[in-house]
Amino acid sequence: MDFSELENDNTGRCRLNSPVPLVCLKEACVLGVDEAGRGPVLGPMVYAICYCPLSHLADLEALKVADSKTLSESERNRLFAKMEEDRDFVGWALDVLSPNLISTSMLGRVKYNLNSLSHDTATALIQYALDQGVKVSQVFVDTVGMPETYQKRLQQCFPGIKVTVKAKADSLYSVVSAASICAKVARDQAVRNWRFVERLQDFDADYGSGYPNDPKTKAWLKKHVEPVFGFPQFVRFSWRTAMAILEKEAEDVVWEDLTVGDQESAGRITSYFLNEGPRTHLRVPHRYFVERGLESATTL
Amino acid sequence: LLPCEVLASRPAPVGRFFTPAI
């Protein structure tokens, strides 16, 4: 997989895809969706689709693709290489969602939670396949949230396609297993080749599994927290583990929208017009200065 | 100028996290 785009800029999202096999443009295809890296506090999350014609489903199954979680990294890489060899009937595409994108989505003023981000990414990948001319007739998805709600939503987006959302779909349907392998292989490679934009001091590359309950990962987070800037962008700031460390180790930061409704020491502007009892009023400066946030300097 | 207030005045490794651009 060519990750040069992600290596240049790992702050957003990045799409990778295989060429679309010719047979997929002619015959009805089955498409599987899965993800990798949902739980870790470090690194990107990857969504992947994998598709092949119904007539070649048995060939895909013959590759002995299984739930990627049960395979070792080397087994996954081997299987992915085999899929690549069989690219005349198997196609794939994936979206790499950077930890920075996950954090800014979840922590934005308008909240964009992880489930919505996941649903939208999966929908976009299915649409991508359709836009490339793949004759998708069936879609199988490993569930994120309630399977019934998710299935209904996806079915509404793709009315001409039979959509099945099921828990543990990666162990039930070989296209989902194949997508699972693509996603995991991609995440492993993205994490292995991660380019830290920050020039970190005393950088330790051994961060454990990246999962929040891994003591090694927790120790790595505590070691690499900077009191003003927090963590490197490899870390998902929106994860509770990360936020807890920031609350304890980092400097407090105040934003204007957190203090809406606060009264300033000079009082609300209406107090100059309403009878609010005896009070020493400061002279209100001319609006030219008020509008620009300017006042006379009285101390150095 | 930051759009928030860091409630401290102290050394900070600005150069390690930010690259200035004009």
């Binding site: 203090t259 400066p285 030219y288 | 207030e5 005045s9 050394p11």
Partner: protein, 217 residues
């Protein structure tokens, strides 16, 4: 750490002269309280210091973070505004006095530095009646003149209005709908807005009683 924004030419002042740039506390002629001013002793110019201050800001200054986010500006100010404060006070005595007796301030002793500005003496005729004592080698005596001051301030207001227009500063007191007003009325309303706004800005530099007189004028 504090951040200051100065005109480029002020760089010379500190290089070419010891104590070329001096921050001093002088009287704010509007409030009567102290405010920070900057003397360029090299070019012999006075600057007022304004602060941009909004809540919830910090600075990155080199390799440090500084809470507060204040930015200080130095901009030229007409020293006659400050002198006016003392002239008006002395004028209540009804006598002609030399400047060095007028500009005496125990609270802001650095006010005497105003007398070092050479251009100031030339502009005194805008706000005072002047007498010369031939017996004491042409020593000059001054008395505050309200009529002259109002005429001078009127010019200031006109200059300010011109500057507001040039700089497209929004001076409207209200949102106008051109659907309901004739263009003549819109134009005259706008002119009134400019006068009101400019008067308000000039009032930031003069005592309230003078501002009220200027408004009537």
């Amino acid at each position: 750490k504090n951040l200051y924004l100065f005109p480029e030419y002020l760089k010379d002042a500190s290089k070419k002269m010891k104590h070329g740039l001096m921050f001093v506390k002088l009287v704010n002629p509007c409030s009567g309280e102290g405010a920070i001013y900057l003397f360029d002793m090299y070019l012999q110019q006075l600057f007022e210091v304004k602060v941009f201050k909004e809540k919830y800001h910090s600075w990155f200054i080199n390799q440090s973070v500084q809470s507060g986010g204040a930015l200080h500006f130095a901009t030229p100010v007409d020293p006659l505004f400050l002198l006016l404060h003392y002239l008006m006070k002395a004028g209540k005595e009804g006598k002609f006095q030399p400047l060095d007796q007028v500009v005496v301030d125990d609270i802001f002793p650095n006010s005497i530095l105003l007398l070092k500005l050479p251009e100031l003496e030339k502009s005194l005729c805008h706000v005072t009646e002047e007498k010369v004592n031939p017996e004491i080698t042409n020593k000059k005596y001054y008395k505050y003149s309200k009529e002259k001051t109002l005429k001078w301030l009127e010019k200031k207001v006109n200059q300010t209005m011109a500057a507001l227009k040039t700089n497209n500063v929004n001076v409207s007191a209200r949102v106008l709908s051109t659907a309901f007003f004739s263009s003549d009325q819109v134009a005259s309303d706008k002119e009134e807005d400019y006068i009101r706004y400019a008067h308000g800005l000039i009032s930031e530099y003069i005592p309230k009683e003078l501002s009220d007189d200027l408004s009537k004028h």
